[in-house]
């Protein structure tokens, strides 16, 4: 019995173009753009090394966060080429890797903490009670579907 080790990259996908259209994130587009950028940086060797076990496990349109799974070992190649990813399905984007975990549970625990901090930051800037209520209302409308 062999245990396969994985690494999960939690990354924030930030759109850079001026259009206000929401990012239509599709897991297949993310995977292909990751493979392309790894082939550019680490060549065919790198692309082939990460291809086995590469999967986008979680992808949220409203929070613009994706969790990418990769095998332990070649995950170093993937991690070094993620900052060079600039386009996902013809949209200019920037990938900010925020956490690397060994399990998805750890990644989601981190994401929960991350979002709580974000809410606290947003609430700090509010001056009136009405604004605070508005922020909480917008936050509650976000879709958290897996």
């Amino acid at each position: 019995m062999v245990r396969y080790k994985n690494r999960y990259f939690t990354a924030e996908i930030i759109p850079l173009d001026s259009t206000t259209q929401p990012l239509n994130l599709k897991t297949y587009d993310i995977v292909t753009s990751i493979l392309n950028v790894t082939e550019q940086i680490h060549g065919e060797f790198g692309a082939a090394a990460i291809k086995n076990g590469l999967e986008v496990k979680y992808c949220n349109q409203s929070t613009q966060i994706a969790v990418i799974r990769c095998r332990h070992g070649p995950h170093r190649l993937l991690a070094s080429s993620l900052p060079f990813l600039s386009t996902i399905s013809k949209r200019k984007v920037q990938l900010q890797s925020i956490y690397t975990g060994a399990t998805m549970v750890k990644c989601f625990k981190f994401l929960k903490k991350f979002h709580q901090e974000k809410i606290n930051e947003a609430l700090k800037t509010c001056k009136t009670e009405q604004e605070k209520n508005n922020v909480m209302e917008i936050m509650s409308k976000t879709n958290y579907e897996i």
Binding site: T38, Q40, I41, H42, G43, E44, F45, G46, S80
Partner: protein
């Protein structure tokens, strides 16, 4: 070239020979390569210059190991026009990668060919000797 230092100067746990001289890991590796076009080479002969050879070698490395691999400095030390023999120099940590990308290279200047690696060594002079030609028979 082989880096040789005196035992007194370097205080490491490396292999200590009887002569008191220890060798440090080599900085460069040398590859003896020959270009083989086979028999079906067209009328137009490819041009051989050091720059073009270096370009095709770098392209081969870039294809297999990407931009990170092609950033390594590879030098063409020697080039023979008639026999198409090349001697390449690369950092010793990179020579396995260079060897594998030369094996998988398929083109030179648009012509189909392959790179035949005859010998690899960490010293330039040992490319010249062939241990298969040694004669161990005792002289009468």
């Amino acid at each position: 070239m082989r880096n040789v230092t005196n035992n007194e100067n370097v205080n490491t746990n490396a292999f200590d020979s009887r002569s008191g001289i220890k060798t440090l890991p080599d900085k460069y590796y040398y590859l003896d390569v020959q270009l083989d076009f086979g028999e079906n080479l067209g009328k137009k002969q490819p041009v051989f210059t050091k720059e073009l050879v270096k370009l095709s070698v770098t392209n081969a490395v870039k294809k297999l190991f990407g931009e990170l691999g092609s950033a390594t400095i590879i030098d063409v030390i020697f080039l023979d026009q008639s026999t198409k023999k090349i001697i390449l120099r690369c950092p010793s940590v990179f020579h396995v990668k260079l060897h594998s990308s030369l094996t998988l290279a398929t083109h030179y200047e648009g012509h189909e060919c392959y790179f035949r690696v005859h010998k690899t060594s960490n010293t330039l002079i040992s490319l010249n000797c062939n241990s298969r030609l040694y004669n161990f028979a005792q002289k009468e």
